[in-house]
C-alpha cells in the first residue's frame, strides 16, 4: 500500500493520559441513606457499634445486612449488636497483585475468616504477620475511617489480635 500522507498533515485527536481515580472503581460503597438501604449498618459502625440485621418474623440473623430476609422473605428487619471479639478461623497473607483502588495498601497483610459466634466474616487482620498467627487466636474488631474519592465520611471494619 502506498502511504500518501505524512504525520504533520494529520489532524491530532487527543485522549487524556491521566484521570482522577473514579469513585465507581473505589472498593468502599457509599454509605448514606440516599445511596443504600443498609445505611443504618454504616451509621452504627460510624458510632462505634458493629451490627447486622435480624428478621423479626423468623429470628434469622444475616450477614451482610439485608433489607429482605433470605430465610422467609419478610422485610421487618431490625439491627442487632454483634460481638466485637472473636476467633481467627482461617487466614492467609496477601503479598501483592492488589487491585486498582487497593494497590496503595501496604503488603503483605493478613486476610482471614473471623468467627464472631452469630456470624463468620472475612476481614483484614492488622498489626500481625502471617507467621505470628494460629487458628483459634482471639481477635477484636477495629473501625477505620476511609479517605477516598468522595467527600462523604465513610468507615469500614478490620480486626487485630487481642
Amino acid at each position: 500500500m502506498t502511504d500518501t500522507s505524512t504525520d504533520d498533515e494529520r489532524e491530532q485527536v487527543s485522549v487524556p493520559s491521566e484521570i482522577e481515580f473514579p469513585r465507581l472503581l473505589d472498593f468502599y460503597d457509599l454509605q448514606t441513606a440516599d445511596q443504600t438501604q443498609i445505611h443504618e449498618f454504616y451509621d452504627n459502625l460510624r458510632a462505634g457499634q458493629f451490627t447486622t440485621t435480624r428478621c423479626t418474623e423468623c429470628d434469622a440473623i444475616h450477614f451482610p445486612p439485608r433489607i429482605v430476609c433470605p430465610e422467609c422473605t419478610g422485610d421487618a428487619l431490625e439491627y442487632v449488636d454483634l460481638p466485637h471479639d472473636g476467633e481467627l478461623f482461617a487466614f492467609s497473607a496477601v503479598r501483592g497483585g492488589l487491585p486498582l483502588g487497593l494497590r496503595e495498601h501496604e503488603v503483605p497483610y493478613v486476610v482471614g475468616v473471623v468467627d464472631l459466634g452469630p456470624v463468620q466474616l472475612s476481614g483484614r487482620i492488622d498489626d500481625a504477620a502471617y507467621s505470628d498467627l494460629e487458628i483459634g487466636d482471639p481477635v477484636s474488631l477495629k473501625i477505620v475511617d476511609i479517605d477516598g474519592p468522595t467527600d462523604d465520611d465513610r468507615v469500614f471494619y478490620r480486626f487485630e489480635p487481642q
Binding site: F63, F89, A90, S92, A93, G97, G101, L121
Partner: protein
C-alpha cells in the same frame, strides 16, 4: 430428557499470554472448532452460546455473543446469548446448549468460550480489580480478597482438619503441569516435579506460585448436536448423560457451608450421577476434568465428587490414583494449573478433552485406556456454585 445430545468435537486457540485481542481469540477459537468438525460449517449453527466472564472489564466490550456471530459468519435463527457464571461460564454455556437441543428447540448449537486477561504487566491492578468483583465486593472484595488468599484458607483448613500435607499439594500441581506438557495449546508446557512446586515463590501461604492456575488468554469452541444430526458427522461423540448444579444459597463468606470442603460439589455431582445412572463414581468414571484452579481444589474435589472419602484426598494423590494410569485419570489435559484458565473457555476445553479421549484423538501420548465415561466439573466465584456434567461414549 427428551432427546439425546452429543458433543461432536471442537477446538482451541493457543492459550497463554497472547499478542491478540478478544476478537482475535474468538476468531481463532471459532476457526479451530469448524476445522476440527468436518461437515459442520457456520451455516449449520442454529444456536450460539458464548461463555465470557468479564469482557466489559478486560476488553471494554459487552454484548459479545452477536459479535461472535458476526465474526464467524453465523446467522442465528433460534437462540443466542452470552453466559456468565464466573469460572463456570463455559460449562453454563454447554448446559444451555444441551437443554435447548434436548428440548427440541435446536438441532445444532455452537458453544464458544473466550477470555482475554493479559493486558500487560502495568495493567495487572486493573485485571485484579475485576477478579475481586467475583466475590461480594462491598464486604469481601474490599478486603483485597482475590482468589489466592481465599483458596489458601481452604488449604489451611484442610491441612488443619485432615492432616493434608504441603507435599500432597505439590503432587497435584506436578501431575497436572506435567500432563500439560503433552497438550499442544497449553499455557505451561514444562514438566514440573513436586519439589519445584514447593520451592516456587509463596503467593498466599500455604499456596505457592505453582499451586495457582495462570492468567490466560484463550478460546475454546464445541459443536453440540441432536442424535440424528450427530450420526451424520461422527461415529464417536461425547453424549451428555447427566448434569447438576448446586449453590446452597451461599455466596458471601458468612453464608458458605464449609472452608475445608464443598458440599455443593457433592450435591451437584450426586444429581448428575443420578441422571446418568452412576452408582459408584470411582469404579465407573474413567476420566475427569475437574476445576484445579489451585492444587488444594483438586484434593477437595476427589472427596466431594466421590472418588475418595472425606479427608482422604491428599492420600488419593499420594497413592497415584488420579494419574493417567490410575483408578480415574484426573485432568489428563493438564487442568487449569497446566493449561491456564481463560475463565469463559475452561469448561468448554474440559468437555473437548473428554470428547477427544472417547474419540481416541488425544495427541502426544496422554490417551486414557478405553475411556468410556467421563465428567467435567467447575466451581465458580467463592466456590458458591459447583457445576458437574457427565459424558459417555454411548447415548443412554
Amino acid at each position: 430428557m427428551t432427546r439425546n445430545v452429543a458433543i461432536v468435537g471442537g477446538g482451541q486457540a493457543n492459550w497463554g499470554e497472547r499478542d491478540a485481542t478478544w476478537k482475535d481469540l474468538a476468531q481463532e477459537g471459532g476457526k479451530a472448532t469448524f476445522d476440527a468438525v468436518p461437515g459442520v460449517d457456520p451455516d449449520d449453527i442454529e444456536g450460539l452460546f458464548v461463555g465470557a466472564v468479564q469482557p466489559e472489564r478486560f476488553a471494554n466490550q459487552t454484548h459479545v455473543a452477536p459479535m461472535v456471530a458476526e465474526l464467524l459468519g453465523i446467522e442465528v435463527d433460534e437462540m443466542i446469548a452470552r453466559t456468565e457464571l464466573a469460572c463456570a461460564s463455559g460449562q453454563a454455556a454447554l448446559r444451555y446448549a444441551w437443554l435447548a437441543i434436548a428440548a427440541g428447540q435446536l438441532d445444532v448449537a455452537m458453544v464458544l468460550g473466550v477470555e482475554k486477561m493479559n493486558l500487560g504487566r502495568e495493567h495487572m491492578p486493573e485485571v485484579q480489580s475485576s477478579m475481586a468483583n467475583v466475590l461480594d465486593r462491598e464486604f469481601d472484595g474490599a478486603n483485597g480478597l482475590a482468589a489466592p488468599p481465599f483458596f489458601a484458607w481452604y488449604a489451611q483448613r484442610h491441612m488443619h482438619e485432615f492432616g493434608t500435607t504441603r507435599e500432597q499439594l505439590s503432587l497435584v500441581a506436578a501431575k497436572n503441569k506435567t500432563n500439560a506438557s503433552r497438550t499442544d495449546f497449553a499455557q505451561f508446557q514444562s514438566t514440573v516435579d513436586p519439589d519445584e512446586v514447593t520451592d516456587s515463590p509463596e503467593i498466599a501461604p500455604p499456596l505457592h506460585l505453582y499451586d495457582c492456575s495462570g492468567i490466560t488468554d484463550g478460546a475454546a469452541g464445541a459443536i453440540l448436536m441432536s442424535e440424528a444430526k450427530a450420526r451424520e458427522v461422527t461415529d464417536t461423540a461425547a453424549w451428555i448423560t447427566g448434569s447438576g448444579q448446586s449453590t446452597m444459597a451461599g455466596n458471601s463468606i458468612n453464608n458458605l457451608p464449609s472452608f475445608s470442603g464443598w458440599p455443593q460439589a457433592r450435591k451437584a455431582s450426586q444429581n448428575a450421577y443420578d441422571q446418568a445412572g452412576i452408582d459408584d463414581p470411582l469404579a465407573e468414571i474413567d476420566v475427569a476434568e475437574v476445576h484445579d484452579c489451585f492444587s488444594i481444589s483438586e484434593i477437595i474435589e476427589y472427596e466431594e465428587l466421590g472418588f475418595a472419602e472425606r479427608g482422604e484426598g491428599g492420600q488419593f494423590i499420594e497413592d497415584g490414583r488420579s494419574h493417567l494410569d490410575g483408578d480415574v485419570a484426573v485432568n489428563p489435559r493438564g487442568g487449569l494449573l497446566g493449561c491456564g484458565h481463560p475463565l469463559g473457555a475452561t469448561g468448554v476445553s474440559q468437555a473437548l478433552e473428554i470428547t477427544q479421549q472417547f474419540q481416541g484423538d488425544v495427541t502426544n501420548d496422554r490417551q486414557v485406556d478405553d475411556a468410556t465415561t467421563g465428567l467435567i466439573h467447575n466451581l465458580s466465584g467463592s466456590g458458591s456454585v459447583h457445576s458437574v456434567m457427565v459424558l459417555d461414549r454411548d447415548p443412554q
